[in-house]
């Protein structure tokens, strides 16, 4: 099967999931981060219901530590496509005393997002949130269902997942419970990039090699910025880098790269010897089960 046919199969599977879940639930939303996975997911969601308008809003959890390029990209996309955008702010959760900001070097708002996300789902009555998660990202994600149940506290219980057979999805919920649905479950990082190329999708400039002020920490490079405090032993220097994932600035590392266009990025991903999260996400380096622990609490 050619790469084209493979992408078509993944595309058809994702569209089936999107239509099925939207048909079964009252109030869906799509979690949008301006990262490549959520860009692909949004594109598929539009295709699934075209030529009708997207029948649900997109939800962005704004950590206050976003890359400016990602925010600019989001706003331009929302304006161009005429989307309904909900912004859930971690800053506001901090101001309201819902969460406490971490301090010092190594501080991250990654984990705080969970509270903000769950608050926003509750406030807007959202009963299913589509996410761009993929099973090849992480061992815990590899275990998760396409349509994944969350209890009234937003928790994922990996030991009590609903059996999912024959592409049939049990979307039944009680009040206060919700679902997360992952139409890109069976895409790999390479599939996502090949899809971006096939569909000529714009992605933030962060994904392509550019020169940037960075500093080194724990074997990774971070963007130097006001929102990340550095130790005296962490001098800033300039380097040619790109980002393989786009998350919170405080926990998303860059990789040295000369891949300035899509073909070069695809070549680089094909030849990569580290997973994208292993290469660039400090949040997953904390423990063996960092992702599982966050997911249990209700993370993306």
């Amino acid at each position: 099967m050619s790469s084209d046919a493979h992408l078509a199969t993944l595309e058809d599977e994702a569209i089936h999931v999107l239509r099925e879940v939207v048909a079964e639930r009252e109030r869906p939303a799509l979690l949008f981060s301006a990262g490549k996975d959520s860009i692909v997911l949004l594109h598929l969601a539009q295709k699934a219901f075209a030529p009708a308008r997207l029948p649900f809003p997109i939800l962005h959890v704004d950590t206050g530590h976003n890359f400016p390029e990602a925010l600019a990209f989001r706003d331009a996309l929302v304006a161009r496509l005429g989307l309904e955008l909900i912004v859930a702010s971690v800053e506001q959760s901090i101001a309201e005393g819902r969460v406490v900001d971490e301090e010092g070097p190594g501080a991250s708002r990654n984990r705080l997002q969970t509270v903000t996300l769950l608050d926003a789902l509750g406030a807007h009555g959202i009963d299913v949130a589509f996410g761009g998660g993929r099973r090849d990202e992480d061992r815990a994600r590899a275990k998760e269902r396409v349509v994944s149940f969350r209890d009234t506290l937003g928790q994922w219980d990996p030991k009590r997942q609903r059996p999912e057979l024959f592409g049939l999805y049990n979307c039944a919920l009680r009040r206060g419970e919700h679902l997360r649905a992952f139409p890109l479950s069976n895409f790999t990082e390479l599939d996502v990039w090949e899809y971006v190329r096939r569909e000529a999708l714009p992605v933030p400039s962060l994904y392509f090699a550019h020169e940037r002020a960075v500093f080194a920490r724990d074997g990774m490079l971070y963007a130097a910025s006001d929102v990340v405090s550095r130790r005296p032993s962490e001098p800033v220097f300039r380097a040619e880098v790109r980002f393989r994932t786009v998350g919170d600035m405080s926990c998303t590392g860059a990789v040295r790269s000369r891949a300035r266009d899509l073909d070069a990025v695809l070549r680089e991903v094909r030849e990569a010897t580290l997973t994208e999260r292993g290469a660039t996400r400090a949040d997953d380096r904390v423990t063996e089960a960092a992702m599982e622990d966050r997911k249990r609490e209700g993370y993306f």
Partner: protein
């Protein structure tokens, strides 16, 4: 393993459809090790994943990298050294892409094996050659076939522990073959109740039995000099050649599509647009086809087909489409668009199912059946026949009782007639049973007749 970080993953330059493989086996049969081996030898493990495995192995006091830790991704799994839920992994050889669903072996988590089997083109069931075919092996063989997996590979593992003995292998092979033959007779219809339609598709199983050692890699990716008496393919070479499930279903019965969603923009640009969105479940739907909508029986013609890749003339099974029908036709979510010979519609059906719920079947319970894009109330017939895991035979019909992990042939009275096509795809035959009180998915299976 030291050179892992210099070896890029293999890129698929394949021409075959990807194969979905479910792996199963009893606890400690070496299944996770086999998968780790396949992923490692196909260079689908990247160096940080391998480093993670090595760190975790050291922390557990192991002298070698325990490849089982690659797929056992949950905290509880790593603590106990068992697989609890299915892990999906992707890898490729130069010939083919694979989606590997690593299923639990422990009896407590059999329902997660059902998840893996329900979409698999082939099931690989691991057997420890020293223990032979045990209850859990028979359970997995039965479950895989009952859920419509057309090809079963029995991988007789740990051959290194019996000196690569042909006699030891042959004993397991003969046991598996005997059991499988009995099972096929049960799935083809019980004596005294068999009607012409009461056979379970898609056809009898293709059974392959092969010897290997996952730990050392014998006969996994490459043939082993330690198995001179074995002249078949290594496991990976076999998997590269297996057919996908839907290719084994004759499409003579025409196309089937369950309407998921009606697209009606009602916008200035598209004031009269009405399209029926769904995924082709069997056969090929083509522009110009005469169609019958079920259950209404209304007839129409396919005016056009849209996909995510633009308009098409033909849409084979698996394609997500929007169907445009000629004339003013009424169809809604849950209806079936069909071509060719119309399927039988029945309100009394028989079905093979696996009970997955923690709570036993309640004889007077109310359940919902989810099939295609429709959910309907259902009531059990007063008797059912259990699959006897020890023999592969159907027990005589008995009272209505089922507990977790039991498999049975049941009768169901359905709140609305369902199309029943025993020889069709799992997208047409598959169903879930939901408990409306707890919202749990309590059973799953295939409509039989």
């Amino acid at each position: 393993m030291q050179d892992a970080d210099t070896r890029p993953p293999v890129e698929a330059t394949d021409t075959l459809a990807p194969l979905r493989v479910a792996t199963a086996g009893s606890v400690d049969d070496g299944k996770s090790t086999l998968i780790g081996r396949l992923l490692y030898d196909c260079r689908a493990l990247l160096s940080d994943q391998l480093a993670q495995v090595e760190r975790a192995s050291r922390r557990r006091g192991l002298g070698h990298a325990d490849l089982a830790l690659v797929t056992d991704g949950l905290r509880a799994e790593r603590e106990q050294g068992i697989t609890i839920d299915v892990a999906f992994r992707y890898f490729a050889t130069a010939r083919r892409r694979f989606v590997l669903a690593d299923a639990p072996g422990h009896v407590e988590y059999t329902r997660n094996m059902a998840v893996a089997a329900s979409q698999a083109d082939a099931a690989v069931v691991l057997v420890d050659v020293r223990h032979g075919v045990v209850e859990q092996t028979r359970r997995h063989l039965t479950l895989a076939r009952l859920l419509g997996v057309p090809t079963v590979v029995v991988a007789v593992n740990k051959m290194d522990r019996v000196g690569f003995s042909l006699e030891a292998f042959a004993r397991v092979r003969d046991e598996a073959t005997r059991f499988s033959a009995a099972l096929e007779r049960s799935l083809a219809g019980p004596e005294g109740r068999g009607s012409p339609a009461a056979s379970s598709g898609p056809g009898p199983v293709a059974l392959h039995v092969l010897p290997l050692s996952a730990l050392d890699g014998d006969n996994v990716v490459t043939p082993s000099p330690r198995l001179p008496w074995y002249d078949g393919p290594a496991l990976l070479a076999l998997l590269e050649e297996l057919p996908v499930a839907d290719a084994l279903v004759a499409s003579g019965d025409g196309a089937r599509l369950a309407v998921q969603w009606v697209i009606r923009p009602q916008s200035d640009a598209h004031p009269d647009y009405r399209g029926y969105a769904g995924r082709v479940a069997a056969g090929v739907l083509a522009a110009g086809d005469a169609v019958t909508i079920l259950p209404s029986g209304v007839r129409s013609v396919v005016r056009a087909l849209d996909t995510a890749r633009g308009p098409v003339a033909r849409a084979p099974a698996g394609t997500s489409v929007v169907v445009h029908l000629a004339g003013d036709v009424d169809a809604s979510r849950g209806d079936w668009i069909t071509t060719g010979r119309a399927p039988l519609e029945r309100a009394q059906v028989t079905a093979d199912l696996a009970w997955l719920g923690d709570r036993p079947l309640a004889a007077r319970g109310r359940y919902l059946l989810k099939h295609g894009a429709r959910t309907v109330p259902v009531r059990f017939a007063p008797e059912l026949a259990r699959y006897d895991i020890a023999t592969g035979r159907l027990a005589p019909p008995g009272p209505l009782a089922l507990t977790k992990n039991e498999l049975a042939l049941v009768g169901l009275e359905v709140g609305a007639p369902l199309p029943v096509e025993p020889a069709s795809t799992r997208a047409v035959r598959g169903f879930l049973l939901l408990d409306p009180a707890t919202h749990d998915t309590v059973a799953a299976g295939l409509l039989r007749g």
